[in-house]
Symmetry: C2
Subunit: 456 residues, 2 copies
């Protein structure tokens, strides 16, 4: 399949230029001011799909940011691959920690540096270019449909409804997604499990206005102290979540399966070194791989309240807030957990404060069986490019929409990720190795080839 | 003493205009950008003292914001009153909670609304006008020295040194201060005790960069969760501070004294209603008056970390911060407590995070004996204006410099406060009743009269 290498070699400079054009649009979905950028980004994607050779492509409205839909139907009798990606990105704060400007991509040290370089502009764009490659070289073996959304980073609030309304349009055999990672640069892997997510904002109100901490301190409950205590009480000394019912639907993974999972190359020493911590902390009785793969977690993503400026202001604040999240494992229902936490956290509020919990978003977990034909095709594609069989892994991350696709469209997804742990997605200095970007474009056409053969 | 009323009646409109000029200068000492305003404010005070009839007044440099010093020596044989006040104010955030602009004072519903209306521009300025009144009516019975600083709200870091360098200049018999409150509009009181203060910033570092909460959540300690737990553990279920040694130097107040203190008019019901809480929370075994008057407290003045913007960002943050404060009672040494907490909090840090504690400021507590001649003079002055004997009270607040004056200059202070609990000092919508402002100007000359007589 030398035509793949040749085409990439002859066109890669243009690929980068086109990707950079996409990255330069600051499409942060969680910040309202970027609404016009979402439209721009969708239009850019539409143009890229058309340019690559689609029959049609359009920006379709949803209740939120638009979805880009495009298709090339070469023969209705052939199998259809639906490519899913997202054009929105995470916020960039803390901005001062970036070494380059987040929306001005540069290639340095063999990597593309920018917000979205990996997640998911870089990874998503590989599919546009792999599609172009197949069309231009006359090797496209399947029908292709693109579904590129703009709200993944805020939990895809509009896509489920849009899918429900376009079931006919979205008929297909497999959903192909590159929005996950590989174990290591030399070890390809396919994500077979994703954690679900529940995410809330918590507001604790003490007095109805900020008080002088001297005149009132000691006599009036401080909502920051109370929130800290409530958060602390959510986990016991073994790192277990104390909320009754939280673990009810967690499937205990068998000893054999756990042994298999732990074969994934992993060193706690290296892991700690990479993030500069002296010790790890998690649920007692589980390894790091298990803690992120098969066990739910409970994290405060943000907290704020009172005086947070320079110097010292003595105040007993009126309010304290936290962004609270739980990663869930397959079979834990995010709607159930979302409601459970709201009820529980509000119910345990001491009578000297008011507590309000607002669910912000969530998603179900997902499992991909490793005997699925599309999984096998992906396996062979990686083998072809990397010379190694990819390792099936359970990721700690969540792509809430993946399980929704299965529910609504009845279509499984295969998660062919090319990201690395060092890509710093969602963090300052996000990056994506050029090699991984190009390997993605090499691997995808091979997947199409095997998938078309297997589906015959 | 009808001349007092007459003079005030004839001049009060000008008094307000002059006070408003002072308030309009946004002299927030904790924010560096306001440095030029500090100078402007000091110059304004200097001009006011000169205009009132001082022999001299000048803006004197310190290591921080300048001190305004002014004096009128009518006879070296007469006693000398030193007036202390501060021209700096607290920050104004949360700005959105203000009904008026904080630095555009207005009179409405019988109150002056502005940052500093009470604390301490309004209260401090009463002394400038009372001094003017005595000079212009030829009734000044003592020598007067003004010492107006610009760093009280950040713990007076430069004033102690300045006092040490100007001991000769600051010779006097009593320091007179209006920076405290009255029990109620109709019940005059004199503050005889102040709490001390220690204030720290705490930084908890987990991983060296923000992590994806899905990929790492459950396996890596989250510094926000850890900080919450550490803060929660600082107090037990009875509201007692758990840090070993914290109560060592607290003098247990006798049952008789506690009974006397609790005679201060107070209703928990009204207190709760005023701040809209359904229950109070404090150290078990003490009343509200005791909790703020004779017991130390532990409050988080601010907390922040992770994503605090709009919507949902799933992140396992690298850092979490808190502004931590303790109010101390007389005999608890703030330097000792400051160091004790730093050592303790850093020592209890789990090995999966790094904890750094930075002491930001502090001050000692203070007690004024009620048999002091100046106290008696103040008592008589209130009786003259209010027709009632003022109640001696222990305030929960801190004026760190008051105990420093005693240490450095050997001079006691009398705290003639005219503020009300409803003045919302340090909070949005700070205000000061016009009546209290004018009553202050009425009361101060009477104090001078009795103090001069008693000192004969």
């Amino acid at each position: 399949m030398d035509y793949i290498k040749t085409y990439i070699e002859q066109n890669k400079d243009r690929f980068f230029e086109e990707l950079f054009g996409l990255i330069r649009i600051p499409s942060i979905s969680s910040i309202k001011e970027h609404k016009p950028d979402m439209i721009k980004c969708a239009e850019y994607w539409r143009d890229m799909i058309l340019q690559a050779g689609a029959d049609k492509a359009e920006v379709m409205p949803t209740d939120g940011n638009p979805v880009v839909y495009g298709e090339k139907i070469i023969d209705p009798a052939l199998p259809t691959v639906i490519v899913y990606a997202h054009y929105d990105v995470m916020p960039v704060d803390p901005i001062e920690k970036w070494n380059t400007k987040p929306f001005e991509p540069v290639i340095k040290d063999g990597k593309i540096w920018a917000r979205g370089a990996d997640d998911d502009k870089g990874q998503g764009f590989m599919h546009a270019k792999a599609f172009e490659l197949m069309v231009k070289t006359g090797t496209l073996p399947c029908n292709v449909k693109f579904m590129i959304e703009g709200e993944e980073e805020i939990g895809s609030p509009s896509l489920s409804k849009w899918c429900s309304e376009h079931k006919e349009l979205l008929k297909g055999d497999i959903i192909l997604v590159s929005d996950t990672g590989m174990i290591a640069p030399e070890i390809p892997s396919i994500t077979t499990g994703l954690r679900g997510l529940s995410y809330w904002e918590v507001e604790v109100t003490g007095p109805d206005h900020d008080l002088h901490s001297g005149l009132f301190g000691g006599a009036v409950a401080n909502p920051v102290n109370v929130l800290c205590k409530m958060i602390a009480d959510m986990q016991d000394e073994n790192g277990k979540v104390t909320m009754p019912g939280f673990y009810d639907d967690v499937i205990e993974v068998s000893a054999e399966e756990r042994a298999m999972l732990n074969k994934k190359p992993h060193s706690d020493e290296e892991y700690m070194k990479a993030i500069d911590v002296k010790a790890l902390k998690g649920e007692a009785g589980f390894t790091t791989t298990e803690r992120t793969g098969i066990r739910p977690s409970f994290d405060i993503c943000g907290i704020w309240g009172g005086y947070t400026g320079e110097g010292a202001k003595t105040v007993l604040p009126s309010k304290a807030y936290a962004k609270v999240s739980a990663r869930l494992v397959p079979n834990q229902d995010n709607h159930k957990i979302s409601e459970m936490f709201k009820e529980y956290f509000e119910s345990i509020a001491p009578d000297y404060v008011k507590v309000k919990v607002t669910p912000l978003h969530g998603g179900q977990g997902y499992v991909c069986p490793i005997d699925l034909p599309a999984y096998k095709a992906a396996e062979k594609a990686y083998e072809h490019v990397y010379g190694k069989t990819p390792v099936p892994v359970r990721s700690g991350g969540s792509i809430p929409i993946i399980s929704a696709f299965e529910e609504i469209l009845g279509i499984k997804s295969v998660l062919m990720g090319f990201g690395l742990e060092s890509d710093a997605i969602h963090s300052p200095n996000e990056n994506y190795p050029v090699e991984n970007f190009l390997n993605g474009i090499k691997t995808i056409p091979v997947f199409y080839k095997y998938f078309a053969e297997m589906a015959k």
